[in-house]
Amino acid sequence: MKFNCLRQSLLQVVSLAIICTGFAQVSHAGVIETSVLADQEDRATHIARVEVLLASAEVARQFEKLGVDQALVAQRIQTLSNTELLLLQEQMDQQVAGGDALAVIGTVFLVLLILELVGVTDIFKSI
């Protein structure tokens, strides 16, 4: 419980830090970012500032959960475009991670396949 509280407040600090960096970048409330115009041609609606802030906070939370050093999270968020942030916010799990790792499920499958081929199991036989 205590840990949860601590975690929650840490998250708030990180979110706030990111939000502040975001504003510092734009330098003034009211200035419309260039990406708004660049996205306009194939996007029906403009991505609101608040959406970007929420996405930044959520992606930051997920990055931390996936083991990114807290000090690096804000830098990594800052270089993502607004559409990339929204993409990660919505479907980080479905995004492919290039790293040569064999998925656990894949490894299990491979073992089963070998067992099947050498005749130890009969799992894949259609009935």
């Binding site: 500032r49 830098q75 993502l80 475009s81 790293g99 040569d100 894949f124 036989k125 259609s126």
Partner: protein
């Protein structure tokens, strides 16, 4: 085992427009592309290091690991590969997923970072590598890959492993370079993202490249205006936003930012006038909210100016 057979052999053929190369294309190989042998799970940073240093920037692979590696996923995401490229002031540009597009970039001297699935759909093994050459005589692709400095893969195998990432690949551009096959919208988005990442100087150069390619390009003019605004050069910003408005009188974004540039020069009445024109054309509620912010900002600036010190 019929079910298994379908799993393992379920490879459709590669569409011709992806695999075909225009006739008389010679072999090409960028032999000078640096090589960074990868550590475990670090094909992303290694591939990125090769492409970035090939563009003329010295990089430390460990810095890139800090930028793109996700321990919980034992790998790196595509969008973070692009983001990390921006962090060093280079412009990442996703190319068309065809052999011809690969060849065109190589011929222009740029290696291409690609995402491959070296496994199969059910046992994926996602891998970033750098294409440094196409051998048209032997139908082979030359790569910096993993711990192999010069991996030769048959074209057929390469295309099959590349297909699983929807033929995803990108180049690392210096700000003064345009891609071999440039798509205007994609390029504009790439530069806007570089600008948002805070690489003002490089974004300025890239926007000027855009204007040389597409004279009067409104997004580039708008971007240059925003950069001037962020540097506090309000008269220069004003000129750029006016240039956008001249080309597109209904550009709400340009009028909004023009209003800010004017207000910052103490020209509040003109600012309010631009804002009221913008309001007539603003149909998107999110944009309307921005206009309200701008109005508040102008009011604040004029109030501050009215108060004697």
């Amino acid at each position: 085992m019929p079910a298994l057979f379908i799993f393992l052999s379920g490879c459709a053929s590669i569409p011709p427009h992806i695999a075909e190369l225009e006739a008389s294309r010679a072999s090409v190989e960028l032999v000078d592309t640096p090589f960074f042998p990868q550590e475990r799970y670090q094909c992303g940073p290694a591939a990125l290091a090769a492409a970035i240093s090939s563009s003329g920037i010295e990089v430390d692979v460990q810095d890139l690991v800090d930028r793109v590696y996700l321990p919980g996923r034992q790998g790196s995401l595509q969008v973070e590969m692009l983001a990390a490229t921006r962090s060093v002031g280079r412009l990442p540009y996703v190319i068309d997923g065809t052999l011809q597009a690969l060849w065109n970039e190589l011929a222009a001297g740029r290696p291409v970072v690609v995402l491959q699935n070296l496994g199969v759909a059910v046992i994926p093994r996602w891998h970033f590598a750098v294409v440094v050459g196409v051998d048209t005589e032997r139908d082979a692709i030359l790569l910096r890959s993993g711990v192999e400095q010069r991996r030769v893969t048959s074209l057929k195998t390469f295309l099959r492993t590349w297909r699983r990432s929807d033929y995803w690949g990108f180049i690392v551009l210096r700000p003064e370079e345009l891609p071999a096959d440039v798509d205007r919208q994609r390029y504009q988005k790439a530069v806007a993202a570089l600008e948002k990442a805070g690489r003002t100087e490089e974004a300025t150069t890239a926007w000027k490249m855009a204007i040389s390619q597409w004279p009067g390009n409104p997004v580039a003019l708008f971007g240059l205006g925003n950069i001037e605004l962020s540097l506090g050069n309000d008269p220069e910003a004003e000129a750029y936003f006016r240039a956008v408005v001249e080309r597109d009188a209904r550009s709400v974004a340009a009028r909004n930012n023009l209003a800010i540039a004017l207000a910052r020069q103490g020209r509040y009445a003109e600012a309010m006038q631009e804002l009221s024109i913008a309001r007539e054309d603003a149909s998107d509620p999110a944009i309307a909210a921005e206009l309200a912010d701008t109005e508040a900002l102008i009011a604040e600036l004029s109030r501050d100016a009215a108060v004697p010190d």
